[in-house]
């Protein structure tokens, strides 16, 4: 089976800016890869690129075996992106949003109620228009839509933002379950304590590229204590 993500010197432009400036990355099936890096490193672009939203300018790029030059349509149908914006229709209910997403992705809609229930959006909330939900609930709804789509590659951009403790642990369960089911997860996070415990591997981005492991700066340079604690060294 081809890897979930395979990038070789991939360049992608946003406007005229090479947000992705020759990235190399391979994500195997079942992996949970956490992407870290400073602001402007190209992390969000990497996710959008892998979601088939950007056209490669050069380099090799394929997702789930589909070429990003020619087969972005196939890619989009099979990945799930949780972005900064929620991609929900405010005027439709959570349930309608989930149904639309599932039908569009050609996935059966049978277990949508369960998915909504699981994200704590069952009952009345499931029939509430998304525009009337709180920020945290919207985030949950976006996750529920993702679950309904059953993606083969999960692309999570700062998924912990505006989620409460309960939702965060739910998210963790989702990621683990997805990976166990053979899907892959690419997770961008500035909150190592929340994401590192999920990761099978961590990669660092800087300047629009994935930094080779042998160039990562030794540990004695920066040691924010609370970040180290996130690794759950018990």
């Amino acid at each position: 089976m081809p890897p979930a993500v395979r990038l070789r010197a991939a360049v992608a432009l946003t406007g005229r800016f090479p947000a992705l400036a020759g990235a190399d990355l391979i994500v195997e099936r079942g992996e949970v890869v956490v992407v870290q890096g400073p602001n402007g490193a190209g992390k969000t672009t990497l996710l959008r690129f892998c979601a088939g939203l950007l056209v490669p300018s050069s380099g090799e790029a394929s997702v789930l075996g589909y070429d990003l030059y020619r087969e972005r349509q196939e890619v989009r149908r099979r990945v799930g992106l949780l972005g900064h914006s929620s991609f929900l229709y405010d005027d439709l209910s959570v349930d309608e949003n989930m149904r639309f997403a599932a039908r569009a992705a050609r996935v059966p809609v049978g277990d949508i109620d369960d998915a909504a229930q699981m994200m704590g959006l069952g009952g009345r909330l499931q029939r509430t228009a998304v525009g009337r939900l709180s920020a945290g609930q919207r985030r949950r709804a976006a996750l529920a839509v993702l679950v309904a789509r059953r993606p083969e590659l999960w692309l999570l951009d700062e998924p912990h933002a505006s989620l409460d403790a309960a939702a965060r642990s739910l998210l963790g369960d989702l990621v683990v379950a997805a990976a166990a089911g053979g899907a892959s997860v690419l997770l961008v996070s500035h909150e190592p304590e929340a994401s590192l415990e999920l990761a099978t591997r961590v990669v660092t981005m800087a300047g629009g590229r994935v930094v080779p492991a042998d160039r990562v700066v030794p540990a004695d340079r920066v040691v924010p204590a609370e970040m180290g604690s996130g690794a759950n060294v018990a």
């Binding site: 979601a51 939203l53 349509q73 099979r78 990945v79 005027d91 639309f100 992705a105």
Partner: protein, 240 residues
């Protein structure tokens, strides 16, 4: 393709049912245009009657720009169409679905505006078939070309100003054809004006082999832009 089209059209119409933006904003705007024309042209019945078909279609054209903008505003979270693209739908299906939803809304709008023309301007309907036939075909053409341009402009910061500039010249033939077809189908007042138009119209029809050239033109327009949309919508989606 048809499955995706139904899905998208259903979604768009459901959003309209909930938000009622077209009903509460675009429709009153169309009626307002009719009233403004009356104010500009003066209260003389005969002037208004003569101009009625043209004014109706100008109002429809302006409203269709707004309807198209609304149709893509619901997709534009943060000014992009990422959501719709990420859904993984077939581009041709998305095009047909969005065009169908716009067409349904425009058709509803035309019914009200048509009633407005009868009510405000005192026009009478001579041939219901001619009126509705022209409306149906023109609506398809407007929805198709509008959806193409709406999708082209959606990611742009200047879309509000650019879309009317791009769309209105393209749909000018719809204005011409719709107006002439309506002039033939409406009794736009007794006497000289009506008979002049009627004579001109019949002469033209005879010249073109008995067919109704304006209805034919509207049909060609709709067919051309529906096909073009199905063919190129994939390319447009990539340009967002």
């Amino acid at each position: 393709m048809w499955r995706d089209a139904l899905l998208v059209a259903g979604k768009d119409l459901r959003i309209e049912l909930r938000s009622r933006v077209v009903l509460n904003q675009v429709l009153p705007f169309g009626v307002l245009v009719l009233v403004l024309f009356a104010l500009a042209l003066g209260p003389g019945r005969s002037t208004l009657l003569q101009a009625a078909p043209g004014l109706f279609w100008v109002a429809v054209l302006f409203s269709s720009v707004l309807a198209v903008q609304r149709s893509f505003a619901i997709e534009a979270t943060d000014g992009t169409r990422d959501g719709l693209r990420l859904a993984g739908l077939e581009p041709a299906g998305v095009f047909l679905g969005k065009a169908a939803a716009v067409a349904v809304q425009l058709a509803a709008l035309e019914i009200v505006l048509g009633a407005g023309v009868v009510f405000l301007y005192g026009a009478g309907v001579r041939s219901l078939w001619g009126v509705t036939g022209a409306c149906l075909l023109a609506t398809l053409g407007l929805a198709a070309s509008g959806t193409i341009y709406g999708a082209l402009a959606v990611g742009l910061e200047v879309r509000e100003t650019l879309l009317p500039f791009l769309l209105l010249p393209v749909v000018a033939p719809v204005l011409l054809a719709g107006t002439r077809a309506w002039q033939a189908a409406l009794s736009t007042g007794a006497g000289s004006a009506g008979s002049l138009h009627g004579a001109g119209f019949l002469g033209g029809a005879g010249f073109l082999g008995g067919g109704d050239p304006w209805i034919g033109l509207l049909a060609v327009f709709a067919a051309v832009y529906l096909s073009l949309g199905v063919l190129v919508f994939g390319s447009i989606e990539e340009a967002a």
